[in-house]
């Protein structure tokens, strides 16, 4: 893979990768504890929902 291609692959997966990580943290946090852990889980799983809402509403990225 050339440098140009790998940079391209990096940018293709940057946002989805971050959202996947946020979702994973969200899914696990509430299992590990209550209180602050619950809040962390809402933030983590809230991230993909917010992205969908913004793009659905017509805003890009």
């Amino acid at each position: 893979m050339s440098a140009a291609q790998s940079r391209k692959a990096g940018s293709t997966w940057a946002a989805p990768g971050l959202l996947a990580l946020a979702s994973l943290i969200g899914l696990l946090a509430a299992l590990l504890g209550d209180g602050a852990w619950d809040v962390l889980s809402w933030l983590g799983l809230g991230a993909p929902v917010v992205v969908i809402a913004r793009i659905w509403g017509g805003r890009r990225g």
């Binding site: 997966w13 989805p16 899914l27 852990w37 993909p48 969908i52």
Partner: protein, 373 residues
């Protein structure tokens, strides 16, 4: 990616999703009210225990059981379950006999403090019952569960192949691009790709844990043949216990044997979760994570003594830990709402995938006709 492997992954994505889409839409639709089953049951009159001073002591469990039995003369108790969210409610599962199948169980909810009956949920009726059965086994028992499990596996295959295809499809596009000004097909393709990749982790986890849940019956059967058989080996030649001793005493013995844990449910002798001679008192931890790790204490139903106690094996633990990750009931109301929104997003991914398939098929046929003419 080479053209050949792109074509192959595309084939996997098309057909794995095509086969499972109708069932996945059904699962998403029926799963939606199930996320809120607790709230819906509260609304429809299945009320919780009345407020009393905090820390009001619990009464004798034998009184609780007697109350339940009086409601259904001639029946026996199969399970006694402490409500996870309402610690003052006890759910009794009654049936015509100790070995009667799950379909014949009838619930009676009793207040643990006063031994008053709180509720007698109707058996096999109501909207939520329909949603539950359609979601769990399509009214077809174990074969229905395993069938839905296979559909879940195809769903996972569709997600994985979709991720593989996402890279090449999005090579020239920025994340979040939705081409609204071109064709309808292109707009839905962009939305399908976007929603699919954004909900990826949640859908994989909920789909995967759903598949694990379809194996619940097999997991319990494996535990019976494996650990339970070893634990009750000394009793093998004896006839089933005739007269049951005090369940209050059995639970007290289990508590003493497992300090720092709290009882989750009691399986009566001859039920799926116990031997023919024991009260199996399933103890659980008290933190969010350890509350999913169960340790059954087997209490001789005649003498009231703990004869064996062992943590559940890894495959049963995998099942119990996977359950909250499927239900979304472990992080309060905000988590349930997020669960519902991600469920709706998944339905849009499924629906748009079907739409894209139909449109492309039609375009392909038109092109073939044009070529033939």
């Amino acid at each position: 990616m080479s053209a050949t492997s792109l074509r192959r992954w595309s084939w996997v994505h098309t057909w794995s999703s095509l086969v499972c889409t109708a069932f996945l839409l059904l699962l998403c639709l029926t799963g939606l009210p199930l996320i809120f089953h607790h709230e819906i049951e509260d609304l429809t009159g299945h009320g919780g225990p009345p407020p009393m001073a905090a820390g009001t002591p619990h009464t004798d469990l034998d009184r609780v059981v007697a109350t339940g039995l009086a409601r259904r003369p001639g029946e026996v108790v199969q399970y006694l379950i402490w409500d996870r969210d309402e610690p003052d409610s006890i759910w009794l599962s009654l049936a015509p006999s100790r070995t009667a199948p799950v379909s014949e169980l009838h619930g009676v909810v009793v207040d643990a403090r006063t031994a008053q009956v709180l509720d007698e949920p109707g058996k096999g009726e109501g909207f939520m019952f329909w949603m539950f059965r359609l979601h769990v086994d399509l009214f077809a028992g174990l074969p229905g569960k395993l069938f839905l499990g296979a559909m879940g596996l195809l769903f996972v295959a569709a997600i994985v192949s979709g991720v593989v295809l996402y890279g090449p499809f999005m090579r020239k596009l920025e994340f979040g691009t939705v081409r609204r000004d071109r064709s309808r097909r292109l707009r839905w393709l962009d939305l399908h790709n976007l929603l699919g990749v954004v909900t990826l982790t949640w859908a994989l986890v909920v789909g995967g844990t759903g598949v694990i849940n379809t194996l619940a019956d097999l997991v319990i059967e494996a535990w019976r043949r494996d650990q339970l058989a070893e634990m009750v080996a000394p009793y093998r030649a004896l006839p089933p216990v005739a007269t049951l001793g005090s369940v209050e005493r059995a639970v007290a013995a289990a508590r003493a044997a497992a300090p720092g844990m709290t009882p989750y449910f009691v399986a009566y002798p001859e039920t799926s979760f116990s031997s023919a001679h024991h009260y199996a008192v399933f103890m659980r931890g008290v933190t969010p994570l350890t509350s999913r790790l169960l340790t059954p204490a087997l209490v001789d139903a005649a003498t009231g003594e703990v004869t064996a106690m062992r943590s559940m094996p890894w495959y049963a633990t995998a099942l119990f830990v996977s359950q909250p990750l499927h239900f979304g009931d472990y992080g309060g109301m905000p988590l349930k709402i997020l669960w519902a929104l991600l469920d709706l997003a998944t339905m849009i991914v499924l629906g748009s995938g079907l739409y894209l398939f139909v449109v492309r098929r039609r375009a392909g046929r038109r092109a073939a006709i044009a070529a033939a003419e």
